[in-house]
């Protein structure tokens, strides 16, 4: 395994030197301000991010890399028990509350760094790269590598260190093999998928085996929560196309677990642009791992959901988005996420391009659910303003 890592690093160094004369450098600066009303107190956090992209092409070889530098200011330590329902907080001994904290730390990371060799019949991509799977908008049951933010589902995802082959067989048939190395072969991710097009639909079938790590947030191992190592084998697929002029998609996966209960996830959605330019999305998500009643949510359910270890607290969720251009440069929208426990979060959104290479995003998140529910008011109503400048 070390040899593979060394080979990847050497290849990247070689590539960097090869392309040094024709390196394309671009990126963006992003400043973000967030605020939330929690227990009658307004809590604030600000972050700044610079993303630098490096790209170069030389004959059949493409090199790409991103470096992210992030700083956080204001309230950077968020004590989770402040936001959880009382019956769940009771499970945590008061002396251990400090362990249940999410801390935003400044970081400087090589988010992506890869080379892609594009041959006549196939592509090979080596290194840290983005992996995007599935046809869903807010949820992707077949994407075991990323988890979307429901309030901002189109935000870019982090890179994964992997070796990927893409083999197109015909104009609308593509095979993909991906290997994401971990400590050993059994923990490493293996993916095989085939995508094809027929009529007005694109179909994808895939199988993934992935080492899966979750935590038991009620047990400690030293100064950390106890790790639970499992293996997830998923057989899934997706389709996307058109019915009666509406865009439609369906995506699902059955997960066979080595050490825990098997479960399945499915999402189905549709979208439409009306003549008056209003855009509409509706998407339903079901995760058999989720609970059906809010009274059944445990500390582990909440913590795994907040730590992105599982995608759902409640078994059923619904996402709605209505967006309309109020001027040539500004879209106004509102999205709503509802859970099977009767709770709902509303997210009014404004997106604008006030200048050529600038983007402004502002949204409010309003939790309207009752105590103990997935989108309960304790989570803190608030909002975010983000200004991004591309260079």
């Amino acid at each position: 395994m070390k040899k593979v890592g060394l080979w990847i690093q050497t290849s990247l160094l070689w590539t960097t030197s090869l392309f040094s004369q024709s390196l394309d450098l671009f990126g963006y600066f992003e400043s973000q301000f967030m605020a939330a009303l929690v227990n009658s107190e307004i809590l604030q956090m600000q972050s700044n991010k610079i993303r630098l992209n490096f790209e170069s092409d030389y004959n059949l070889v493409h090199f790409g890399a991103n470096i992210n530098a992030l700083t956080y200011h204001g309230k950077t330590d968020w004590a989770i028990p402040d936001y959880l329902p009382e019956n769940v907080v009771e499970e945590i001994p008061v002396a251990l509350h400090s362990y249940y904290t999410i801390t935003f730390q400044d970081e400087w990371i090589l988010d992506n760094a890869y080379i892609r060799l594009a041959f006549d019949k196939w592509d090979l991509t080596l290194g840290k790269q983005q992996i995007s799977l599935g046809s869903g908008y807010a949820w992707n049951p077949t994407d075991l590598f990323n988890q979307k933010d429901l309030f901002d589902p189109t935000y870019e995802q982090s890179g994964h260190n992997a070796v990927r082959f893409d083999i197109p067989f015909a104009s609308r048939v593509n095979c993909m093999f991906l290997y994401e190395p971990d400590d050993d072969w059994s923990r490493s991710s293996k993916l095989v998928s085939i995508k094809t097009g027929l009529g007005r639909f694109d179909y994808t079938l895939m199988a993934i085996e992935k080492g899966w790590t979750i935590h038991d947030y009620t047990a400690f191992s030293g100064f950390d929560f106890q790790k639970i190592l499992d293996t997830r084998r998923m057989l899934g697929g997706s389709l996307v196309g058109e019915l009666f002029r509406w865009g439609v998609w369906l995506e699902g996966g059955y997960n066979r677990m080595k050490n825990s209960d098997n479960f399945y996830e499915i999402t189905a959605g549709m979208n439409y642009t009306f003549d008056f330019q209003t855009y509409f999305i509706i998407e339903y998500y079901h995760n058999s791992m989720g609970q059906t009643r809010k009274i059944d949510y445990t500390l582990n359910d909440w913590m795994r959901y907040l730590a992105s270890e599982q995608k759902a607290l409640n078994r059923d969720q619904l996402y709605l988005l209505i967006q309309h251009p109020i001027s040539d440069l500004t879209d106004l929208g509102i999205s709503a996420v509802g859970a099977g426990d009767g709770s709902i979060a509303l997210v009014p959104t404004l997106h604008s391009t006030p200048f050529e290479n600038g983007e402004l995003l502002a949204y409010a998140n309003l939790y309207l659910g009752p105590e103990n529910a997935m989108f309960n008011r304790n989570l803190g109503n608030g909002g975010l303003i983000r200004l991004r400048v591309y260079f």
């Binding site: 592509d123 790269q129 893409d166 694109d202 865009g247 642009t273 001027s327 591309y390």
Partner: protein, 252 residues
């Protein structure tokens, strides 16, 4: 070779025999043939004049093949949309968009054809539906008119039933000299008397013997905005690999 020559001669004669005036459909077929060469590569500059008086400029490359049946557009500038690309197959009945920041390809349904391309006054349908004038409309020639001193055929295009095109009718002013449409009026899908947009084509150059309007301006009568499009480079009938018009080509 001889057969080809006679065929071309026959087409020319049907359109230009003295005393035998071409019909609307013959003229539209000529326009369609002119606007959709076998293959085309172009580099273009698109400038959007917003209602608030701001300007937005985009530079993109485009490739088309099979007389406009396959189209690929890839943005070069501004940086905000750099490498973003749109693939349109089957005359824009099938559309895929590539977003480089997330490396995600999304298939769009035909309703998305109505969406403005990058906020411009051109919709995806305006850009990609190469054969639309012939396939989706019936054409009728009306009284000739003169525009800027140039004699023009005027054709009324009426949407055929059961087509999902976004306009109820078009009125096209076509130069008699070279069959370039210099003015196209687009009317509302549900209110055929409401003028939505006007396309003005100008600066006609002969490129590889194909008369080409180097400048296009789409004027939006409803929003009071306009979008100028300008070819900075054009090449016709070049070799373009089919692999470009695939998801793999879209992402490269």
């Amino acid at each position: 070779m001889e057969r080809k020559f006679f065929l071309l001669l026959l087409i020319a004669l049907t359109v230009s025999l003295p005393g035998q005036s071409p019909t609307g459909s013959q003229i539209i077929e000529k326009v369609d043939h002119l606007l959709n060469p076998k293959t085309c590569w172009a580099k273009s500059k698109m400038t959007i004049q917003t209602s608030s008086g701001n300007e937005r400029t985009f530079i993109y490359e485009s490739w088309s093949k099979n007389h406009g049946e396959k189209n690929l557009i890839r943005y070069l500038e501004p940086i905000r949309v750099k490498h973003q690309a749109t693939l349109m197959l089957n005359y824009a009945d099938d559309i895929w968009m590539y977003f480089p920041r997330t490396r995600r390809v999304r298939k769009l349904a035909t309703h998305a054809k109505k969406q403005k391309m990058e906020g411009s006054d051109f919709s995806y349908e305006d850009m990609g539906a190469g054969n639309s004038f012939v396939e989706d409309y019936t054409s009728k020639r009306i009284e000739d008119q003169t525009i800027d001193g140039e004699s023009c055929f005027v054709i009324e295009l009426q949407r055929k039933p059961d087509t999902d095109i976004s306009y109820s009718r078009l009125k096209m002013f076509i130069l008699k000299e070279n069959f370039v449409p210099v003015r196209v009026e687009y009317y509302n899908e549900n209110h055929p008397d409401q003028l939505l947009k006007i396309l003005i084509q100008s600066d006609i150059l002969n490129i590889q013997d194909i008369p080409t309007a180097m400048k296009m301006t789409m004027i939006n009568e409803i929003d009071n905005t306009e979008t100028k499009m300008e070819f900075t480079e054009v090449q016709y009938n070049i070799e373009i690999n089919d692999a470009l018009f695939t998801e793999r080509g879209l992402k490269q």
